[in-house]
């Protein structure tokens, strides 16, 4: 390819070596940013995963929807509006107090989640999905958790990506048409790659901060933090298991140190092969949180978005493996 010529070392550099290498670095960055949209499978996976988990939350809380986001909520729409006046949030749910309006909004929110997951007219749907995620989150901030917070952020970032290019209804339709080119495609590529970079940076900031804040706590330092976590009544669905683990002091200490270490190391390892060590450890950690603390969707959102660091060849390999497996007989 013609563009690749530019990164090969020139036969006789006329400029001083330092300047030449800085220039090459710039050329290389420019090429990577503009050549093609990167990690299309990863962003598609994030689209499907976040859409799915958003739906799981809405369907899980369906019987309690009035109490959390609707007309019966102790955090009334009027209170939410007062909070928006202070903080500037927005939610479609607070635009009217009519119970019928709430039901329509809730149904629309579910529909948007489904369409986003399927990748139907993804650019428009992704904007609607971000609005839906923000609306659900901000309608009752005091009942939203860190997983919801991350889902909102990723939803906003995904608007700028070409996350509908793979594993989507859009992809099926596009296969029947000639690919578009030119300035429009160039802009889509640049936006996508920049947003991808932001998502990666966001995950690094998340884990880096979570790790560094823990370093400041003495219970993480002396390895007893998980003891206090296991004793929280609202986060011990299996009291016998929690009590058993609580007795294993050495194990808990190792888990404490490993948690902090992995979180602090996250930003430094995900851009190298070390990610194949760190990511499975994080999956194990979140699996533990999901089961032992009864926080399945929170954990799933965290793990899911870690997958932005997996290369496209991993996703292609995974897709091939799944497809090759014979269908289970019902």
């Amino acid at each position: 390819m013609a563009v690749d010529q530019s990164i090969r070392p020139a036969p006789a550099p006329a400029t001083p070596p330092v300047r030449a290498s800085a220039g090459r670095l710039f050329d290389e960055a420019y090429r990577r940013l503009t050549e093609k949209p990167l990690s299309l499978y990863a962003t598609a996976f994030l689209r499907i995963g976040n859409g799915f988990l958003f739906l799981v939350t809405l369907l899980r809380e369906f019987p309690h929807r009035h109490l959390i986001w609707g007309p019966e909520a102790p955090w009334t729409a009027e209170m939410a509006r007062r909070m928006f006046d202070q903080l500037g949030w927005f939610s479609v749910f607070t635009l009217s107090d009519d119970p019928a309006y709430f039901e329509v909004c809730y149904a629309a929110t579910i529909l948007v989640g489904v369409l986003f997951m399927l990748g139907w007219r993804t650019r428009v749907t992704s904007v609607l999905f971000a609005v839906a995620a923000i609306s659900v989150y901000s309608r009752n901030v005091l009942m939203s958790n860190g997983g919801d917070n991350l889902l909102v952020l990723i939803a906003v970032y995904l608007m700028f990506t070409a996350c509908g290019r793979r594993w989507s209804l859009d992809a099926r339709r596009a296969a029947r048409h000639a690919p578009a080119g030119g300035f429009r495609e160039f802009t889509v590529t640049v936006l996508h790659n920049c947003a991808l970079l932001v998502i990666m940076a966001q995950m690094c900031i998340l884990y880096g901060a979570a790790g560094l804040f823990k370093v400041q706590g003495e219970t993480w330092g002396d390895g007893t933090a998980l003891h206090y976590v296991l004793e929280q009544d609202l986060f011990r669905p299996w009291p016998a298991v929690s009590d058993f683990l609580d007795g294993q002091h050495a194990l808990l200490m190792i888990a404490c140190y490993l948690t902090v270490l992995v979180q602090v190391a996250f930003p430094f390892s995900v851009f190298s092969k070390l990610k194949y060590v760190v990511l499975p450890l994080l999956v194990a950690m979140h699996l533990g949180i999901a089961v032992l603390m009864a926080l399945p969707v929170f954990s799933a959102v965290m793990v899911l978005n870690d997958a932005v660091f997996l290369p496209d060849r991993f996703y292609r390999w995974a897709a091939r493996t799944v497809r090759r497996r014979p269908a289970p007989s019902a």
């Binding site: 900031i205 901060a209 400041q216 206090y228 002091h249």
Partner: protein
Amino acid sequence: MRQRYGEQGEKPQRVLRGAVVGLCAAAALTHVLMTFLHVAPSNPISERYRAQINAWISPYFEQNWLLFAPNPEPIRTQIFGRTGWTDAAGRRETGDWVDLTAADNAAVTHNVYPSRTNQAMLHRAWNAYAEAHGEDEVSVDEYSLLRAENLRNIATRRLAELSPQPFQVIRLRVVATPILPPGETTPTDENKPYTRLLPWWNVTSDGS
């Protein structure tokens, strides 16, 4: 021949493409930098540009990653409520203290995926209230007012489900029991349960 930025095409096209790249890259880097400064502990740069950082981050890029940091809550919280009403003869009556936390704990036990109405609603409402209120229980600003109102509405709703008759006032009592360090079984003077009694709040039993 060495390719220039924007590869093939006319000069205006090249300039336009360069501008797109510059704008997108600048926006992305600014966002990452702002997010970092917002999340990082207070430092000379973030103090100087506090207003700009907040304007960029708040509200949609809010970051809340204090997951069990710096320390997990070292206490177990139990919230009790009681109702009060005036009877036909004009006498003031009060109901018994009811444990409002018990139902939440029971709903979480042996549940793979509890509802947030049990896992978060009352507990988070109390924490939010406690963050915004001193022991004088006075709401000093809109934040603390909203949080007090939220806690009152949740408690009213729950008490209404349990109370045999209509009531006009409610009162909350919150018992914080320190979780003992691992291996210790006998509480010392320092980690005895601590009780906080809130004032009577005017409510109506239908929750409004």
